[in-house]
Symmetry: C2
Subunit: 301 residues, 2 copies
Amino acid sequence: MTAANKPAWIAADWGTSNVRFWAIGTDGSVLGERTSADGMGSLVASEYEGVLNQSCNEWLETATMVVACGMVGSRQGWVEAPYQTTPCAVCPTKMVKAPVERDGLTVHVIPGIRQTDPADVMRGEETQIAGFLAQNDGWDGIICLPGTHTKWVHVSAGEVVSFQTCMTGELFALLAEQSVLRHSVSDDGWNEEAFIDAMSQTLSRPERMAGQLFSLRASQLVHDTDSQTLRARLSGLLIGAELASTKPYWLGQNGALIGAEAVSQPYVAGLAAQGVAVTRADATDMTLAGIKAAHAMLETR
Amino acid sequence: MTAANKPAWIAADWGTSNVRFWAIGTDGSVLGERTSADGMGSLVASEYEGVLNQSCNEWLETATMVVACGMVGSRQGWVEAPYQTTPCAVCPTKMVKAPVERDGLTVHVIPGIRQTDPADVMRGEETQIAGFLAQNDGWDGIICLPGTHTKWVHVSAGEVVSFQTCMTGELFALLAEQSVLRHSVSDDGWNEEAFIDAMSQTLSRPERMAGQLFSLRASQLVHDTDSQTLRARLSGLLIGAELASTKPYWLGQNGALIGAEAVSQPYVAGLAAQGVAVTRADATDMTLAGIKAAHAMLETR
């Protein structure tokens, strides 16, 4: 790095299992990146500053500010950054400072968002949404963030209006890896036709869902159905149920999807089968863009 | 036991995790009972006779026949007793003999039942149904056998017409003990009003199911809802989805429920809320009655 472009601040995506740091230069460019397994789940509050010092030691020679999002701001994190409540601005206005011992360093934590009725919470996704809005000024519509707990978020006029979480990713993992279905469902592989067929079934007849899960196991025993087809069918049944539940969100809406390729693909295919096209964006890119947008708000205060 | 009433044969309920033996006297009465953890899951085919000899040694001085139901007859069991296919007689006509070394001993294994479309299987429950029919001659209607994998069985004119399995019990255990909901759902306790409310919601609006699971976790974080209420709500959501899926079975039907008290109670309450009254029967009693009915068929051949 040149003398003219030293690390001015550090962006941090501090989740439950991992943390990712970026050194941001005086001109806003990314000068370096670090990841570690020191996630919120393995730390007590007093340990966060040590992880930061260890991972970003030479960056901190010049950087004087950290802006962090994710579970670092939960009650069990470094400092609790109380949820904003919907409807609320996409870009956070109430960041919270974490306690630090190092002179001249300030750590700002981005709050999550909660909804009162129906009860729902997010922490981390709000930053990806802020990043998407920063890159798509004035965007209105639905943002889907697929993952372990997929979020469906209605964004309008720069505000998060409402959102809904479906724990489809976690349910798929539990059923495929730990239930009786593990004997019948492959670890990988795919059958797109079986996926679309199963998804369409639960989307159009969600009341049949409960009876169709064990049928995957029985289908192997009775018809010797292959395990890749059954894996795609399980995914289709669950995503169909999710699309049935979130229909008021996506039906006839402008859609965007923020996520990694593997986890996004079934949602893109499922929505396409319903005639809904989505704009795609990468989750990591949006997180960084969102933290930069939050940093810009701090600078202009 | 008197000289006049020695063990004439042995009834066995041989499941995946456990086996239960009963010594049956010449007059048909139960003379003794044994249980062991030597279930199908921990045995290879050649080990079954040893378990039988060890558990029932003195009974085998006079008993010359064993009649067994359950996973003992699966492909991974003692001997494969191929499934009967629906529609089929409730009381099994095609028992299979297991290979034994002991002179003068015959072991008969009761087959399970399969359905081709939609694919489904049972092994063990068919014997409970046979027991119920043996005690309720000419009974027509729906039999629900709640458990890890709950079975809904349409019985008419002494035949199993069709059936449907819902893995609600397994799903509840996975979600309550291993998902993110474990932080919010108690290990025991109950809230009947919350159960009925949640059950009614998914029964009337099954399409909303996928969005309501994470809401249990969020409800604790946002509203500090107590964990016993959330446990009952989770059970209600899942049983409501099962009742939605099995509505063609129970709606306007004559119903019976075979199961232990704890696992049966939510089903009884859920069906009662829909105006469906059910006859209750104990699972172990029905298993023994079913094995006796199968034994009687062998005797009259």
